[in-house]
Symmetry: C2
Subunit: 473 residues, 2 copies
């Protein structure tokens, strides 16, 4: 809780008070709260960003509550920060201007699963894991699997266009959102998109909403495409002598035309974190790739993966996780990497950069050079199949922040110099706004402000996020 957020003017106290009174009258005291404990509970996410306390929190029960809140907020010129699970890592759900935090957690229903047409219609507060369980029980599959899937909510997944390991084979959240019901600032409700797999009627407003980080509208319903659940899954663990070998193997696997459902990379530090979780790993391994394969028949695929991996320079060992216990141990350790590595220092900043896969080895070695030059520690893991690496900087004292900031800037410059992008799946939120101009030129940034104005002309919805450091409010 120390990274300063962009400066956004705080809402006027009398406006917030009028909005609070009107909302409490309309929605009731059980829905609208101004109590300190409630306000504190919605003022953070899983980034290190310090926001401000909001004035009001609305625990919406249904789409009507969302619309009413957005109507009253617009009437009184009060900013609104939408919030689903609060599991974001870029500060996207943190209130910066005070005003209202609009919680969608209670909208957690599955409205429909049409198994024969492979469509689910859900509310935004549904936990991602609950969607997974419900559709898998019917032989279907919702591929996006952000690491936080046990507690994140589908509305936040859509707002950030969440990814996860399985994106390598199956793509990201955007690929599965067919349509939305979305509440606009002011209380208007729109339906975008469709229920069918194909469709090109009008502009793709749905795609524009996906990944817009709650700055354009608040989802009240999401129509999602599903696929068939793969009958079989197998896990392959490939151990390497060094980073370059592991990351080079990713290029070889892809060149061989292989498509496991994920290719996760761990560097030496994170290999040790996995060992500390009680997972035995050959001590010669200084980097590893963890891969899942899925499909109707895997024997031939496993053999081809083994052949390619054993032909890679620096390979130490290739193992197929035959039993569920070993598989679960590996994946639980992988999923726990964020909290595990967080314990390695008092402070940790996890970045989410993407580079072409051929440039990953360069990015990893350069990130260590950057860390050393700025006298902080670093570690890297991530979704290597997609070139999406979580570069983490570790440090122990806030006095180091100027050096950390310098390291972050150098990391972003390096990423973009390698043909990459600032964020693969976490979003810009507030934490990466300072670098936005390094990737997007003034013309594109200005266009995005005009697109924002098409939805929210007064800039009241989630101000200070995603596209610009300060909104009018």
């Amino acid at each position: 809780m120390f990274l300063p957020a962009p400066h956004v003017a705080r809402v006027k106290a009398d406006a917030a008070e009028r909005a609070a009174l009107e909302l409490a009258r309309l929605l009731g005291d059980s829905v609208v709260s101004c109590e300190a404990s409630a306000l504190e509970g919605v003022s953070r996410d899983e980034s290190e960003t310090q926001g401000v306390l909001p004035d009001i929190v609305v625990f919406a029960r249904n789409a009507g509550d969302l619309a009413e809140t957005l109507r009253v907020a617009a009437k009184h010129d009060v900013p609104v920060t939408p919030r689903a699970g609060g599991s974001g890592r870029a500060g996207g759900a943190i209130p910066l201007a005070g005003g209202i935090v609009l919680c969608t957690e209670a909208l957690d229903q599955i409205k429909d699963i049409d198994a024969r047409n492979r469509v689910a219609v859900v509310e935004p507060g549904l936990m991602t894991r609950d969607l997974h369980r419900a559709v898998e029980a019917l032989g279907l599959f919702y591929p996006p699997d952000p690491n936080s899937l046990e507690w994140c909510r589908i509305g936040g997944n859509v707002a950030t266009n969440a990814g996860g390991p399985r994106a390598y084979k199956y793509g990201v959240t955007r690929n599965y959102v067919l349509g939305t019901e979305v509440q606009l600032m002011g209380g208007e409700v729109l339906r975008t998109g469709r229920r069918t797999k194909k469709g090109v009627t009008g502009y793709d407003a749905t795609a524009l909403l996906v990944g817009s980080e709650g700055t354009l509208g608040v989802f009240s319903e999401l129509t999602l495409a599903l696929v068939a659940k793969p009958p079989l899954v197998a896990t392959v663990l490939a151990l390497f002598s060094d980073d370059a070998a592991a990351l080079g193997a990713v290029v070889h696997l892809q060149a061989a035309g292989l498509t496991p459902r994920c290719i996760e990379y761990l560097d030496a530090v994170t290999c040790n974190a996995v060992r500390a979780k009680g997972v035995a790993l050959d001590l010669r391994a200084q980097a590893l790739l963890l891969m899942d394969l899925d499909g109707a028949a895997l024997d031939a695929e496993l053999e081809r993966h083994g052949e390619v991996l054993l032909g890679c320079a620096g390979i130490v060992d290739v193992q197929v996780a035959q039993d569920a216990a070993r598989r679960d141990a590996l994946w639980n350790a992988r999923r726990a990497l964020s909290p595990t590595t967080r314990a390695l220092a008092k402070f940790k900043i996890s970045e989410d950069v993407v580079v072409p896969i051929t440039e990953m080895a360069h990015l990893v070695s350069e990130s260590h050079v950057i860390a050393e030059r700025n006298q902080i520690r670093s570690l890297v893991y991530g979704h290597a199949g997609d070139g999406n690496l979580h570069v983490n900087f570790l440090f122990d004292d806030t006095s180091e922040m100027p050096r950390v900031k310098q390291a972050l800037l150098e990391l972003m410059q390096c990423t973009l110099g390698l043909g990459g992008t600032l964020t693969g799946e976490h979003g810009i939120g507030t934490t990466k706004l300072a670098y936005l101009h390094l990737e997007q030129d003034a013309g594109l940034r200005a266009l995005q402000l005009r697109l924002k104005a098409a939805f929210d002309p007064r800039g009241l919805l989630n101000p200070g996020k995603a596209i610009v450091a300060t909104h009018a409010c």
Copy 2:
């Protein structure tokens, strides 16, 4: 050439003349033409829509010519209709307001194929088949395969978010566009998106441009994602006693978790058209499914498809096309369906509706009822795996147009009533604008106009298309 286009006010003659003079001076007479033969050559597409002759055609040689044209057009308040291959089926490339037709055909270069990172950077005038050939020579694959792939251009594919048979397994054009360089009305150039597979920096302006039918900007460069070329392809032909049986089999195939790369459906009339092309088909077959499977190993997959198909009601025969000659004959006949069936009557209107796959049989039977009620003929074929059916109405005299229009309206109403959408891959263009309000409510249509204004506030780019019948111009 008889369907009336929406009314759009024609550009003032003096404004067009000033623009023509300035463009000729800047770009030269070999690039800018006002000759009747040139103007006629760019006033039609493959729909039945009657546009108007433009005043000027610009045969752009490069991005600079595009920018200069859009700058001069804006200066003189002259509308611009962008044009790639002119193979569209919805009137999207037809000039409605006169002014300038801006041709991108000469921008046909492949700028880069980065095989290891599976990215191609191409110009908009590149023929889709040439992209296919170039990447397949490197063991890569660009899945979208609109039926017109031998003559359509990638810029038009992106503008319409083109599909094709392979969309069933691989998705549509949108899924492969990573980034664009786009020229805006007025001469500004923007770069949107990225070169990496993942990325969530800022709004997804790229996705908004895909399928916007040339109303937001003119592409000068496209960055496309590629996948590995599947090593093997096999073709399965399933013959059925009737439509409902064939379309029911699609539901069974999907329920069994099978994912061929395409599932094409032909009704009785189109089966006969295939027979007329010299392809032998069991005479008991009154409907068929043509499927391609691809992958590294197909024997087990073929067997599973055979099992499921032979278990379907109304199955007449299942054949695996073992030799290339039979495969090519089947696919050539499928690809030729549009011209072949066009010969069945003086006039043919091909629609492009989508319904949930469980509703296809209902849509097909209802489309025949609608045709009969309005005393015209009908036939149906299409991408059944995606629920995307090309319902064709045939007639011989323009005096029948009131009945044809009534049938079209009823078809659209039926489609939407079944949970479908007006267009799966052709676009709204001009031909479906009259039905847009049936699918999209006033709020969404108004939002789309605001999005349009964020790119082109004076409505000069491709007026009268995609989102609204008349623009200011």
